[in-house]
Symmetry: C2
Subunit: 343 residues, 2 copies
């Protein structure tokens, strides 16, 4: 039988697996279809049919080059799916379909490719979103670092729901759906070989189940953002800049896991700059903040949700931290070179 054994233990990805011929069909039929089977993907057409979609359509894409591809709490497959699901969820939409493109280095163990696909599959199942299309390319040894992934997704927003940072007004409440900085610290710890009593795991998770109930106009949510690369600092700065307000954050109100806080001190890292992959920032009208918090805390991923600050009339900087000691400091955007390949 042609190709028998390609899927056996110890086998590795070959250039032919990405060539568009028989070897590629084998990978698709053995590894992709059984995991992700759904009506849109099954025909393996040039483009997957999603049928007629109601609502305003949103679209997003992300590339993932996370190093290492397997880390405490997740892997590049899970990360890729969650990243795109979360971009759609914080935009006020229900994710409808995802795509996944992999670029794999020749010689990458098939067993590890399967772990990546398993991670993607589990995340897509948790999110309840079908993988409608994919692609698979192989480059020579040394022309990639294991595996890279790109995802795209489309979502449908209910009529009337249009989150926009420009809707933020002075007085609005700022809610963070859980502890800050876990993903960045998990990655950095494993890279630096740090050992903690309680190891820090990435928070990577699909947020659509928790966030979609907030797409209810009565809750007066202005906008949401998932603070990934650049952390809470970058997300708050962007939102404050877009809204023309200043965001004042009460440092003592921001949930940070003890191990993350400790690791950040050791690594000289500001947890506000550390990436998150399963958290959202929610800006809402002050009088609905309690309802938003209650909804978030009723979901397993939101049980540590906290109101961390307030939008005020523009001051000397977009984001100001009020420290536990009562002082104030400006929270700047990281330049971007501290943590390459964090996602």
């Amino acid at each position: 039988m042609s190709g028998t054994g390609n899927a056996e233990a110890g086998e590795r990805v070959m250039l032919a697996h990405g060539g568009g011929g028989r070897a590629m069909r084998e990978i698709i039929e053995r590894e992709i279809l059984p995991r992700f089977d759904n009506d849109a993907l099954r025909p393996l057409s040039d483009a997957a049919s999603l049928g007629y979609i109601e609502g305003r359509i949103l679209m997003t894409t992300d590339a993932f080059v996370v190093k290492p591809p397997f880390f405490p709490g997740g892997d590049i497959g899970r990360l890729a799916i969650c990243g795109t699901v979360n971009d759609l969820a914080v935009s006020g939409s229900r994710p409808v379909a995802l795509t996944l493109s992999l670029i794999v280095e020749e010689g990458f163990p098939l067993a590890e490719l399967r772990r990546v696909l398993d991670g993607a599959k589990a995340a897509a199942s948790e999110a309840g979103v079908p993988l409608a299309a994919g692609d698979f390319k192989v480059v020579e040894r040394g022309a990639a670092d294991g595996v890279y992934a790109s995802t795209a997704g489309i979502g449908a927003a209910p009529r009337g729901v249009e989150f926009d940072a420009r809707l933020i007004r002075p007085g609005d409440a700022i809610i963070l759906t859980g502890t800050m900085g876990d993903h960045g610290v998990a990655l950095l710890s494993v890279r630096e070989g740090l050992a903690f009593e309680t190891p820090v795991a990435s928070d990577v998770a699909p947020l659509n189940g928790m966030l979609f109930p907030l797409c209810d106009q009565a809750l007066c949510v202005r906008c949401m953002r998932d603070p990934t690369r650049g952390g809470v600092a970058a997300a708050l700065n962007e939102m404050a800049e877009a809204a023309g307000v200043t965001v004042v954050v009460e440092e003592s109100a921001v949930p940070v896991a003890r191990a993350v806080r400790w690791a950040c001190e050791m690594l000289g890292l500001d947890p506000f700059h550390s990436a998150n992959e399963g958290k959202a920032l929610v800006f809402c009208a002050p009088d609905t903040a309690d309802d938003v918090l209650r909804l978030l805390r009723s979901h397993p991923l939101g049980r540590n949700a906290a109101r961390i600050g307030t939008a005020v009339t523009r001051r000397e900087a977009p984001v100001i931290i009020r420290t536990a000691a009562g002082g104030e400091r400006i929270l700047d955007v990281p330049l971007g070179e501290e943590l390459p390949r964090i996602c």
Copy 2:
């Protein structure tokens, strides 16, 4: 001014450009937005709003690792946009929006990144499709080979148009919209350093303008396919297998550029196995074949369109070539390792 000079000649992509911080915003604001500006992209939200879309929605994705990234007739940016536009077009849909994710090696010259973006921009303009979202990641020197691209796209198919290879019936006509094998030969020639009197240029082009008029139910088009990786051979085999028919191709009727034919002989390559990036195979009812041909030839990209064969009741193989000499040979699918990184 912070960061001044990053965009100057001689500058190179740095890890920080992909980090999600200030350096990345500079790249986006200087290089991405001015080129691709449109209503969906401009807000740089987590997900781009495409509004309400009529019709059946189709979605597709592709990864591009073409080597070298610049080749006669195109570049990886043009290729990425056209590949996704064409997948949507052969599926009977009008492309509505595209996404582009780049993975760039640290040290890649900014001038070359600009050429890639220019190529993508020109192709998107030719296709008339907005780039709605993008991402940009940088990996260390040696962790990629210059630049890789992933695109995704969604299209809208008119009600009633559902191309499907399973609709092909014995007697159906098979039309190729132009010369075969140009892209594969262009790539291989530049890699092997072959010099021709007339250099072979890739055919990479967006086909939606030529193909959308065929989405008219009166033309009885059964299905279309763009014969990329694996060439016309792979595409015909897949379609014949899906339909349960045999495809008989008249070799003398298949348009092949003289330089491509000559290069294939030198390289020991079958032009049927050579990739195309600006061609489509169209299966239609025999009595509408002339109308389809006329429509195709009225478009600049279709002036060499030709009827190359006929579907017949299943015979001993899915694809059979009738040679100029009157013999027959089976046209098989390439295994896939002959031409890595052709797209």
